[in-house]
Each structure stands twice: as C-alpha cells, then as structure tokens.
Symmetry: C2
Subunit: 235 residues, 2 copies
Amino acid sequence: MSMVLYELVGRDGLRYSQFSWRSRLALAHKGLDASFCPVAVSDKAALAFSGQDKVPVLVDGARVVPDSWAIATYLEEHYPDRPSLFGDATARALAAFAAQWVDRQVVPVLVPLLAIDVVACLDAADAAHLRGQFERAFGATLEELAADRERRIKSFRRTIAPARAVLRATPFLSGARPAYADYALFSIFQWARLVSPFEPLEDGDPVGVWREAMLDLFDGLARSHPSWRERAEAD
Amino acid sequence: MSMVLYELVGRDGLRYSQFSWRSRLALAHKGLDASFCPVAVSDKAALAFSGQDKVPVLVDGARVVPDSWAIATYLEEHYPDRPSLFGDATARALAAFAAQWVDRQVVPVLVPLLAIDVVACLDAADAAHLRGQFERAFGATLEELAADRERRIKSFRRTIAPARAVLRATPFLSGARPAYADYALFSIFQWARLVSPFEPLEDGDPVGVWREAMLDLFDGLARSHPSWRERAEAD
C-alpha cells in the first residue's frame, strides 16, 4: 500500500506548508513515494483521524504519523535499507538540534514578515482563518507585521549566520551531501519562494548558492513547484 | 613529545578562556594529555610563534595549531584510533554548525553581561587590557553592559531554546554520549561559572541537568576547577 502525505493546500493546488516540505524531501531522500492528500487550513477536522490538527501527517498502511520530525524518524527506522536521512546516532541528535534551531529561531523571525503574502495565496475562507491564527500568534495585524520588512529582514539574515558560516566551507549543512538538517532549513526558503515575491537573502549570500543546490535535488523536486514570481510572470 | 596547550591565565592560575575549555575537553575525550602554557591576555606576543594572537594554540611536536575548531579537527585526524570527537562525516558538519551557533548567537548574548566579572579575575594590567577590548567590541562600558542583567539574561535563556528542546529528549546535544557540540556549548557555561557569581539559568532548566553531567565528565575535569562561588566561600 502506498503512503499518503496530508498537506496544506492553497489556491490552484499550492503546497505551501513548510513542515510538509521537510517530509516531502525526506521521502525523496529515502526514494519513497507518497500520494498527496490536500487539507485546507480552515478544515483541520480533516486531520481528526490523526488525533491532532497539524500537517504534515504521514499514513503508511495502518500507521498514522503526525509531525515532520516524527515522520523523519519513522522513515529512518522503518526503511533502514534506504539512504540514511541522518547519518550516525550523533548526527541524528544534531539534526534534531538543527531542526529545533530552525523552528525556534529562524521561523519566528521570517514568518511574520511574509504572513501577509501567504494569506493572499489562499481562498477567502482559508485566508480569513489563517489571518486570525497569525494575528493571534504574533499579536499584530498582518499589515503591521509586514511593515518595514526591507529593514527588518536584516534580523533574519543575522539569525542564519551560523548556517552561512558552515555553508562557506561545505556545500551542505550536513557536509558533502544533503541530509535532514538541510531539509529543515530549506523548508523555510521553499515556503518563502512559493508564497511571496520578497527575497529574504542579499545578493551574493552563500546561503543562496546552497538554496539553488537544494532546489536542484531529486531531479528538481522543489524547483518543479513554481515560485510566486514565476507564477506572476505566467499570469 | 607531549603536547602543549597555550591558554589564557587569570589571577591565581584561573583558566578562564572558554575556547581553551573546548580544546581541553576535546583532548580529554581523545584520552590525550597536554601540558599547559599560560598566556596573559595583555601579552599576546607570547603567541607570535603561532602567526596569530588568540588562544587556544595547540603545539604537537612540530605542529602548531591555533583555533579551537582547528584543534578539534586536528586531533580527530591525527589520532583516529582514539574515540571520535564528532561521529560520522554528517555529525562532524553538524558539530561545526553547532559551534558556529554558540559563537555567533550564544556567546554574544552572555559575554557582555559577565564581562565585568571577568576583568575582576585578572591582574591589573590584564584587566585594563581586556576591559579595553570588551568596551571597544561592545561599544559600551562594562558597567553599562552589566546593568540590569537580571532582566537581560532572559534573552540568553531564549537563545539557548534549541539546545533546551534537545536536552529534554536526550542526555547530550550529541545524543546518548557527549561529543564536540556539547563541549562547544558547555565552554560558555564553564567560563561563566569560573568568572562570575551570576547564574545564567533558571532553577529547573533542563540545560542545568546537562551542565551537571558535563561537569562530571572525565573524572570531573571541569568541576575540579573551583567556580567563582566556591573560591569566594573558601576565602
């Protein structure tokens, strides 16, 4: 039985959930296929079967696995003959650290700046629902959160300094080849490119070189989803 | 020929350099011994032989290796029969990331708050020299930097949230056993405990449980250096 990944969907099938991108890249790394079950952000009842209300949820036969990190460790343990997502036990612990760093320090700096663009990618009911979620979480309107973002993006660029320092020396955060820590950080860039015209990086940032390499992985899996700018040009 | 580690020394032989502690723990992890060559912070000419002016510097026979990360990779490559400092290649890349995170996000938040206590641990000439360095680097007097630190320490506690999240689930950042990423983060706590009465952590912080475990490593190597508070009680 093939696997199913429950993911958020926006207008015109846009797969905009950053956490789901971690799972999609983890599946690709393992050479595993999953069919896609779209979930509207205003219809989390669709996830009630998983005992919680957040995407991604992976269903593999009788197993139901919510949470991107749990999905990664599930895939690693249940498909040990496939390429390792983590490396050795130390690398796995440090990938957990890297993912926590993305969640707790990178995401909260970038998401508020682009939240206004995300809701513009959704149908009206979803947009209203997500606007409410964001505005409650950040305690400001989306318009306030996006104000002056050309200046405030500098904080994001400083926040990713540890990744930048590593990427000056090695092609991937995980060394010569990409692994889960790369997928965790890349997911926020993929999210940004899908939902917004705003460029988070400065020209010449080594993180941008890595981002291009990440877009190329798995026959251009991430790049095959057109960016906001590409969609605007096609309109 | 035995190795020599050049390290900063304060009053009464205090080994207060956080970066040197990374190297001391790396040597202990490898089961290697190095004799100690003290360097005064105002006498960096003592390091001229290394072609730069910062501690630690490891001298191993004819080899001169400055920089704590370079020392760690040197030890790993030249003593491969000893326990690995990193784990596999992915783990090594992620340890570099963790060390960069400590250097670029953790150190700059804690060091200004305690800098006033460091200079109090040095002889007059060294204290004046280091005060000048700190005040130029941070653009404020040590007294200004330390003002209101009971409140400003909260920023440090938030900064280490990714480590805290991992340490709720595993005994060490590197998983079941400590490795270089742990030494990199612990070095700032060891520095704080040696130079200052100020407690950076809240009661009950899981990071504190890990810190105790780190103090116990290698027959209590780090704990065998009395803390500021222990020295004050002994006076």
